[in-house]
Amino acid sequence: MEFIEVKIDKDIYPTLTENYLDYPFAYGTIVNLTDKYINVKPLARIEGINEESIQSPASSIAPNDSAEVPFYIIIPEKYHSDKTALSYSYFYLVTENEQPDDQFQKAILVNSSNSWDGRVSDLYYLIKKDLNFSTMNAKKVFNEYKTILDTLPAALENFYKAKLLFNRFIKNLVYTSDPRATGEYVQFPHETFELKGGDCDDLSVFYSLLLESVGIQTALVDYKSDEMIRHVNLLFDTDLSPEQAELITKNDSKYFIRESLKGKNEIWVPVETTSLTDFETAWKIGPEKFNKEAVNDFGIATGKVQIIDVY
């Protein structure tokens, strides 16, 4: 077996770990030079990330035929890099023997751990990584407000927890632009907490994590109203039914009804995390933007506004 060519499909964003289990990072064009079928195991390794080669699914190649095989990679959970740097990826084709039939080397860009591909759906990986940090901080706040939480009707629990967490953590942050001129940069929630600020995706990721860590479902809202202008904020699930809306507001434009898997309609609330004021203001501004761009301008239907559920 021999390589004809290897194409790198995507640069490496180390934080998007599971992404690389689902999607190949490279494709190799290989050729079987024999007159019999051969089972080939493609392996790959990226210098600085993997100590051992990672095996991708084996393929059977027909005699004297060529084929394209995908190469997958695993980013170790503990891998971290502050800098974006050029590295090398090594590709191997193994058949019957331990020794590879052929190998190929290609340069690859390995981004820093704070780099992001700009896809709002991929912010999920940052939310997932800081779950323990968030749960701990949220618990501290709930313990402080235990008396109030104990006396609330159970139906209002999600809403008031979301309000408490916003007013304790998000309200006191400062809006700051990305520190780098090129590419997307996103902070881990613990960094946003320590730096006391961030931009819209940093603030939305942080608030989403705080809510998700205490069992409140969230969705990121990606506003792509213009090619050059994008914005991210948040929806969260109050777990209230439409009939219970009056428990939280007298204004029916401040919430939206979303149907869950079980067919249960629930009240979701849009929150503008960059409002940098209290929850009430963030909850006033969030629906105004959502109503205009997502609903009245048909942003959801045209794809200019996307709701990305965080699981």
């Binding site: 700009g118 939480l149 202008i229 009056e246 434009s253 629906p287 239907a301 699981y311």
Partner: protein
């Protein structure tokens, strides 16, 4: 991403459509954007796109913008953003959005956090809940959109009301009224789905005959298409 975000954040919510109040009779209030309170509406007031207008009994209000005049009758509520002419294509987009708004079909997730705060017992429904006729006023408002030539917009307003005030879905006469608009506009699949839903409600004989006739008519149309 976001050096320019602050800019859109400030400008993105400025309304493009506003109406001036030409005449007010009796009790008419409005609620701005994300505000909680209702304010009495006066002649000459400019109401922005993000406001909601509510009329009491024997009350009405006449609104005008550059090219539209709209009168909202008694016991009605309407979002100012709904007072507009829509194309059929826009109506189809709005109907499609209903499903797109829903959460993806995945199993309900439970949190890793199992801590329990407090001593609540069971899932209670707050005793503060009370019957609300605001949904009915919303449907009245939607109906008047249709009566003022904004039929597509009226259907969108009605559908949103059904979602936010589920009890209004049981009001057969309103459901038939808005289903008839879908039928009239030639949106037969959408109308048929709605008539099927309506047929499950408690209907008078007249309503049942009307719904059955519409279902049969649509079936014939769809078969011969």
């Amino acid at each position: 991403m976001k050096k320019i975000i602050a800019f859109i954040f400030l400008t993105g919510i400025i309304s493009a459509q506003s109406f001036t109040v030409k005449n007010v009779t009796s009790e008419v209030r409005y609620q701005k954007g994300g505000e909680e309170n209702w304010v009495q509406l006066q002649k000459g007031t400019v109401v922005e796109n993000d406001a909601t207008i509510l009329t009491g009994k024997k009350s009405n209000v006449k609104l005008r913008d550059m090219d539209t005049e709209f009168t909202l009758g008694e016991s009605s509520a309407v979002s100012v953003s709904s007072i507009k002419k829509m194309r059929i294509d826009d109506l189809l987009l709005a109907l499609a959005m209903e499903d797109m708004m829903n959460a993806p079909k995945k199993p309900n997730k439970s949190s890793d956090n199992t801590a329990v705060y407090g001593t609540k017992q069971g899932e209670e429904v707050s005793p503060q809940l009370r019957p609300n006729d605001f949904g009915l006023k919303r449907l009245n408002g939607a109906k008047q959109l249709a009566e003022n030539g904004m039929e597509e917009s009226s259907v969108v307003a009605a559908r949103e009301t059904y979602r936010k005030y589920p009890d209004t879905k049981k009001l057969a006469s309103y459901r038939i009224y808005f289903a008839d608009i879908l039928y009239k506009k030639g949106l037969y699949e959408e109308a048929l789905k709605e008539y099927y839903e309506i047929s499950k409600l408690e209907l008078s004989k007249e309503e049942k005959d009307k719904v059955d006739a519409k279902v049969e008519a649509i079936k014939t149309i769809l078969v011969n298409k």
